[in-house]
Symmetry: C2
Subunit: 239 residues, 2 copies
């Protein structure tokens, strides 16, 4: 073994898919260890044996000398892979401004957009589990919380992204969030924006595709990338 061995602990319908995409963009060899969400739509307990927070993605690296490293947290995994396995510098920012933009949008994805979206799942699940007699009250309450918090917080991020892409569309038909090429900003935003909202139903009728034409174009371009398609193909069998 001359190269480090990469194993990705992958969970269905999770943020892990982005790491498969990045591994494909980098042209790396890797193994996928698949996990399935339980009846409660939670990560299974076995994931806690891999990393104590019990979440996915987690990347394990086994080096040729036998040393092992466990890397968790999406943003950190993406950054770690780019720092250590981007032999052709396809992800290396070419200016300080590009570095700043990549970092801002990557952190905005993980620290602002994703949390507001994730909690919608928690609330909807709570609504489903509420006793029959209280379901109506709970659902009305959930809707109010989402209307007051989750939807506006999420849509403010979407407005910001659309505005940025409108500017970028004036100089190029190839759309990227941060610089002039693919970056961790596109990769990290692909799960919440592309999969959960533009092609998913996470915001329901609160999201109107017609108001976000450039974001939809960017989402379609991402879904058409050969590496993205390969990533989907490779994980399809795991459900």
């Amino acid at each position: 073994m001359t190269e480090p061995k990469l194993t990705l602990h992958w969970l269905n319908q999770s943020r892990a898919q982005r790491v498969v995409w990045l591994l494909e963009e980098l042209g790396l060899d890797y193994e996928i260890k698949p996990y399935k969400r339980d009846a409660e739509i939670r990560a299974p307990k076995e994931l806690a044996d891999v990393h104590s927070l019990g979440k996915s993605p987690v990347l394990e690296i086994e080096y040729p000398d036998g040393a092992r490293k466990t890397v968790a947290e999406s943003g950190h995994i993406v950054s770690f892979l780019m720092r250590n396995f981007d032999k052709n510098n396809v992800f290396k920012p070419t200016s300080e401004q590009e570095f700043d933009d990549v970092e801002y949008y990557s952190l905005m994805s993980e620290g602002t957009l994703q949390p507001a979206l994730s909690f919608i799942v928690v609330l909807r699940r709570g609504g489903e589990k509420a006793p029959w007699a209280m379901k109506s009250v709970i659902r009305t309450y959930n809707d109010k919380v989402m209307e007051a918090f989750n939807f506006p917080e999420t849509l403010k991020c979407f407005d910001l992204l659309e505005k940025r892409l409108v500017e970028k569309s004036k100089v190029s038909t190839e759309l990227y969030i941060a610089g002039e090429r693919l970056s961790s900003a596109d990769i990290l935003l692909s799960f919440p924006v592309v999969e959960q909202v533009v092609f998913g139903d996470k915001l329901g009728s609160a999201f109107n595709k017609e108001e976000y034409p450039q974001l939809v174009t960017w989402a379609k371009q991402i879904r058409a990338r050969p590496a993205y398609i390969r990533a989907q193909e490779k994980t399809k069998k795991f459900g």
Copy 2:
């Protein structure tokens, strides 16, 4: 003007306090533009004029040549300041492992711990605003959501941090989360861990100080730092 002019848009009871602390640790000159939460405990509308997401902290930089830059998102502001204004390299990681640890714990703070904690505020506010006749049902529901999601997600992070600090306490009485000195991990975790939980009441009785002795020691050490105390002094008058 020979140095860039730094202005921090600061909101009471927000993540912005950490940036004041970092500015003090770096020994920089800066101005604070204070904002106050409205009756709904939300950021006031004027913050949206500074940055479209309408949140705090936001850092504005005016360069000697008149160029201006607006930097948002806590993790990015902290990283930006360390990259551009750490003249004595007091925050520069000294090894790859230290870099990785700093990045992991910084992102864990913003992407995992902080979101689970923040939503407690949203739920509690929702409970207060519920119509009188439904208050009891809503409060029971909120408690169940917090018990099923927010508390365990948060405590898993706290367990991980305590375990790490227990290891570190075996080799040093000065405790830091990532490496052997202060890093963005300590700075970013100071708001959720030190202020919101250890010395705050965000987890209520779900958090038992006695189970987290090293985390409490670390929190006390942070609060005793001269730069941290100066930061508190400087913002006290803004409420």
